[in-house]
């Protein structure tokens, strides 16, 4: 058996090697083995609704143009001109007929095909093979309006990649034929390793203390339910783990936080449709909680863009129901901005913790003692009703161990042939499909 190059998480003890957060060589390898292979969330249908619309995004560190061409097809192309490597698009978004490189005016279609080169006959003597010189394209697939892309032609389909996690994601993203609408994003650069932001999204252990100030002020002033450790740790919410993805979920009404505690209820108005699309159990009985998709998607949706071992650009969008009135969408978006995002009551308090967790791997002493994500070891099982590996504890570090195990699987693999996928077992009753 091949020796594992990386063995950073001990599944028996939960010991985690913090070197993974700050070693520049590991980071460089991650850009190839994780971000070069995985399906990455890069945008949303509502950001490019019309032909000619484009949105500038990133796959790992690499700049990417997400466009909708004249046929309505969605394309993802590396924003690097094939001639000298200048960026073809310099704006955040827009609408155009073609992409013209500002350096020498090489011109590409909305699908990345090279359409025109100045002086093709006069200067290049007709030697340019335009068919070979389009923008580098990524594979693109969508799920319920969420747009994903991968550089790896060998990667499994998005459907297989999401696997049974989709059964849970449908609870939020596939409730309605009209789908969802994205607002934003906030963009800000934080001094952390990208992995810290992803693992924290499913860490409810920190919430009663890290976010006490926000939770208490919201309780006092806005009448939000209390989010104390006593309340949180007794919650019966569960989490499911599939292919390194994590989804927390609740059975209503007994497991919930009294409905949707810190949010405008975003599910009530499409309740009946959700039951028709997803079936009684999912449409009526379940609510999605925090969720993360390997490697760098923290859904609501948010994208964690690596910028270096200890630097990350965080993109925070607000997701609303497209079927809702503009007033309600706005209320939901503003609430999301006030709680998370760059100026969020909750999120602001996270960053120094994340930064210190990430940078601890710089110190010999910290590497020697390691970190411990050992809460709830052994407490997962399979279930007849709920697909994936299930944790019956809501506050748990199962999520961290699954995430870092998945990271190891990517980092130790030579290709997708060596990366396992959990078998798909879920029954997708109703009409909701991959395309929403």
């Amino acid at each position: 058996m091949k020796t594992k190059k990386y063995n950073v998480i001990d599944q028996e003890t939960g010991r985690l090697d913090p070197t993974i957060y700050c070693d520049p060589d590991i980071y460089k390898e991650e850009m190839e083995k994780v971000f070069g292979r995985a399906w990455l969330l890069i945008g949303h249908d509502s950001l490019i609704p019309k032909p000619g619309d484009f949105f500038h995004t990133y796959m790992g560190e690499q700049p990417v143009i997400l466009s909708r061409d004249k046929t309505g097809q969605v394309n993802a192309m590396l924003n690097i001109c094939r001639h000298r490597g200048a960026r073809v698009v310099r704006t955040d978004d827009g609408n155009c007929k073609s992409f013209v490189c500002p350096y020498h005016a090489w011109t590409y279609g909305l699908d990345g095909k090279l359409e025109w080169v100045p002086g093709e006959e006069e200067l290049y003597d007709g030697t340019i093979d335009r068919a070979q010189l389009g923008l580098k394209r990524a594979r693109v697939a969508t799920y319920a309006g969420l747009i994903f892309a991968t550089w790896d032609q060998q990667a499994p389909s998005l459907e297989e990649y999401l696997g049974d996690a989709r059964w849970y994601l449908d609870l939020e993203f596939n409730r309605s034929a009209q789908g969802t609408k994205a607002f934003g994003p906030h963009k800000w650069v934080i001094p952390i390793n990208w992995k810290t932001a992803v693992d924290n999204c499913s860490d409810w252990y920190h919430v009663p203390y890290s976010h006490a100030s926000a939770a208490n002020a919201l309780t006092r002033i806005m009448g939000a339910p209390r989010m104390t450790s006593d309340v949180l740790w007794k919650k019966k919410g569960r989490a499911a783990f599939v292919n390194g993805h994590q989804v927390a979920f609740f059975r209503l009404p007994e497991d919930s936080f009294d409905g949707n505690p810190y949010g405008v209820d975003s599910t009530a108005e499409n309740h009946r449709e959700a039951i028709e699309r997803l079936g009684e159990l999912r449409g009526d009985g379940l609510m999605l909680g925090t969720h993360s998709l390997f490697p760098n998607t923290v859904l609501g949706f948010r994208i964690v863009i690596p910028r270096g071992p200890n630097e990350t650009e965080f993109w925070h969008f607000s997701m609303t129901n497209a079927a809702d009135t503009p007033d309600k969408q706005r209320a939901v978006a503003l609430e999301h901005a006030a709680q998370n995002g760059a100026g969020g009551h909750f999120e602001s308090d996270d960053i120094d913790n994340w930064s210190q967790v990430s940078s601890s791997g710089k110190y010999a002493g910290a590497r020697e003692i390691g970190q411990y994500v050992n809460m709830g070891i052994g407490n997962t099982h399979t279930d007849d009703v709920f697909p994936g590996q299930i944790s019956d504890r809501f506050v748990t570090e199962q999520n961290h161990r699954f995430f870092y195990n998945r990271w190891e699987e990517f980092m130790n693999a030579d290709s997708w042939d060596d990366i396992p996928l959990d078998p798909m077992k879920a029954t997708f009753e109703g009409t909701a499909s991959m395309d929403g």
Binding site: D92, S213, A338, G341, I351
Partner: protein, 181 residues
Amino acid sequence: MTVTTKSALSGLFDETLWSTINSFYIAEAWLLDDRKLREWLDLFTEEMVYYMPRRRNVNRKELDREIPARGTDLPYFEDSRKLMEVRIQRLESGTAWAEEPPSRTRHLVGNLLIESVEDDGTVRAKTAFICHRSHGETATALYSGYRQDVLHPVDGSWKISDRTVVLDANVILDKNLAIFF
């Protein structure tokens, strides 16, 4: 509005008004930098809105899209008095870790332009600012931008009913927006 030296000197340039509002802004900046956030919040009306939009990179011909219109987008802040109260109570708690220990900030507010004066004394004013933030051991951030305020004369001073803070940055190069402008 179009700013010309002539109109600035004649129409709207009431030296007394300009001085009193400029003094108000200087005092306001000291309240922020001296961390007297309660007194700072008292400078706003009960119906206040504290608003900070995103800023987009767009082509010159589309500059009307650079700052998304209020109500159409995901701003960094669009806070009512109640939400501002949440923010300040949070900071006062001693466990608002983003500001614990608190940042050292330095707000330099200038280039005061009085954009309009209404019959009831309501003033629309625009100011530019530079704000340096120093937090913890080595974290620093530099913000620049402008503010547009709606001010009302109240008891010999001014109250702000509406503040728009527009940062010059597209991507914010700071770990969080846990300070005020």
